[in-house]
Amino acid sequence: MARDDVKTGYKYVGTRPNRPDGLDKVTGRARYGADFSLPGMLHAAVVRSPHAHARIVKIDASKALALDGVKAVVTRADLPTGLTGEDLNLQDNTLAGEKALYDGHSVAAVAATSQLLAQDAARLIEVTYEVLPHVTDVDAAMAPGAPVIRPGVADYSVPEGMHGNVARYMEFGHGDVEAGFAAADIVREHTYKTEATHQGYIEPHAAVGQMGEDGRGEMWVCTQGHWYIRRMSAAVLGIEAANLRVTPSEIGGGFGGKTTIFMEPLTLALSKKAGGRPVKLVMSRSEVLRATGPTASASMDVKLGMKKDGTITAGQVYFRMQGGAFPGMSPIGEALPCAFACYDIAALKHEAVEVIANRPKAAAYRAPGSPMAAFAVESLVDEMCRELGLDPIEVRLKNGAKNGSKSSYGPVYNVIGLQETLEAAKAHPNYAIPLGKNQGRGVASGFWFNHGGETSVSLAIGEDGTATVMIGTPDIGGSRASIGLMVAETLGIPYEDVRVNVVETGALGVNEPTHGSRATFASGKAAVLAAGQAIKEMCKRAAAEWEIDAEAVEWKDGAAHPAGPNAGKFPPMTIGEIGSKMGGSGGPISGHHEVTAEGVGASFGTHVVDVEVDPETGRTTILRYLVVQDAGTAIHPAYVEGQYQGGAAQGIGWALNEEYVYGADGRLQNPVFLDYRIPVASDLPMIDTVIVEVPNPGHPYGVRGVGETGITPPLPAVASAIAGATGARIRSLPCSPPKVLAAIKALKG
């Protein structure tokens, strides 16, 4: 639709009503994954490999099964054979086959009448391993002599001659890169590294599964996408997806890590062997960190050419990313297009390889790939700005993408808001605050594509004139509120009269998960169109009552009205009146819309951070932090601000402290929150936000997804601020105190 069609002057959209799930969550009434129980339910525990790479010689469960109260043990031998592709990868990760591929890889599972008994039984399952050589580092995995951990893993894209751990290769670009570098006044090239980090959701994975003797199963699970859980679990277990019904719980965070399966099918496999009794499996934090998908680790070469006036003449990247022991999991396909997405540069070359290593199967993490790419490219842009004495925002305004710019990955941008975020950041008071001793300021921009995807939504008009909306995207960041506001606006009824429910797989057509910043965009768009369908029917009912043509009725302010004087003189018929009579006027009134939603608006943001570094300890304190991001239209501004702040907090953690630490033995050294250091409230100041609104023409209310871009700029912004404070540039995250202190000491010689 054209930009002019975007509505303005809303009554409900853009307001900040109380969240519909708020009371349930603060009173403990909300039910999360681990809160669900059934009569006769068993509890499960998982046996995990202590080795990074080992052949499984023998599994002996006799001692465990001899315990009174132990009802079932499953190993890979209980799962079907013959799977291929990603289905086989999912099965291999659910239960190891011939080999354990990483520290924490599940090898067997047991169900018993209590949680403690299940854990005791798991300890009695004896697994004989033949330990194999391992590799966990991305560069080491490509080095000559590195053990090839899964021979034949390379797909069609990998040219001959690459290391056996390379699973995927990608290259694209445009323009004459060498000519671009020749035209530059300075050309700089560095290597940047980021470690794997975990999504760090508060709620561990949890599921209850029950498999009936008739081959039909049911699962209650904490997930971002229950249709994905259904399809993947069915594939792993060799059952028809239609025979599995999945109901999502409330969700305590996901950030991409709950868009796939890790242990969920085990509940069904154990239930089947235990005579159909329901089985609950709740992961510990240690299991979450060891065996659920963190993001990839990355090693990235970047080369840029810049003129003295700040014009970027050419750019080149070569990314190496590992996403664990399974192919297809590192986000090279996203990281490369994101690398220069904020810029309009005449000559670019992108190249990347995906490498497998003895680490857990990576999963999506908030704008997968974009934060790493931004760390590499935005750090080098900042280094060159400092060398040439240029303002980093002015350089980004000069080179930044605009409406009509050809993107770095090919297509032309339609309506985007990067320039507006840069102008707003430049004008913000934070950018003018004088800095003191040992203080520095960092600036970076970030990008995410956003996503639409498969979406199905239904809406029913109540007899009391309310509306109930059924969506299939679990509410992680406030989508029930934002969808409720859009439906209220469309129907012309109070927000309080709209109830939005997340429903199970049997109630709607297939929905993709809440991922890709899509829930408010895609489910919201479908809900608005479903409401439009209900409005059409309500106008038809009013027309029949008035004995006029349906086309002579219009809908406004929650009621049907005659459309002009020729339609006749009738008092408005409210949604409550129509609802109360619908049984006698043709039956229930509902609306439905299903679509693979397209028309997402690309998302851009710019962050400014001030830090102070203690020269004695290397500890970095965030003094102030500003997020400026384009929301298209902020449906519920408080939730939008929350997404901005949450993304920034996770990015700051990635920049300063978070990292997977593997020992020489290939085992994860820090699988608890005491040692895996995520930021807590006392680590951060209140994060300032500015919502820029450049409406997306592809949505009835101009929405752009806002969930992911916010995690992208903090990595380079914080590192650049530290460089400003100390003179030391950290090119390998995290900027932990020992690393910063060593860099400061190295500068002093």
Partner: protein, 81 residues
């Protein structure tokens, strides 16, 4: 005919061409025609692709229209967190 831009590492499966001209009315027809003309592109297409048609990113819709003068870019299938 629509002009389909291949990313660099796909070009070796299409006789080195950077741009392939395809006669198609939808994204699905375009992908089918590409695979028919250059079977080496089959694994990439089967692995899942997103496309951009005249600047609009189409993540996963085979029915999205393609015009005779459309400019199409193939992209890796986009995911999100």
């Amino acid at each position: 005919m629509a002009k389909v831009h291949l990313w660099a590492s796909l070009r070796r499966f299409a006789d080195g061409q950077e741009v392939v001209e395809v006669d198609a009315a939808t994204v699905g027809q375009m992908l089918d025609a590409l695979e028919k003309a250059h079977p080496g592109l089959g694994p990439a297409i089967k692995a899942g692709l997103s496309v951009a048609v005249d600047g609009e990113v189409i993540a996963n819709s085979r029915s999205a229209p393609v015009k005779p003068d459309s400019e199409v870019y193939l992209l890796q299938r986009l995911k999100g967190g």
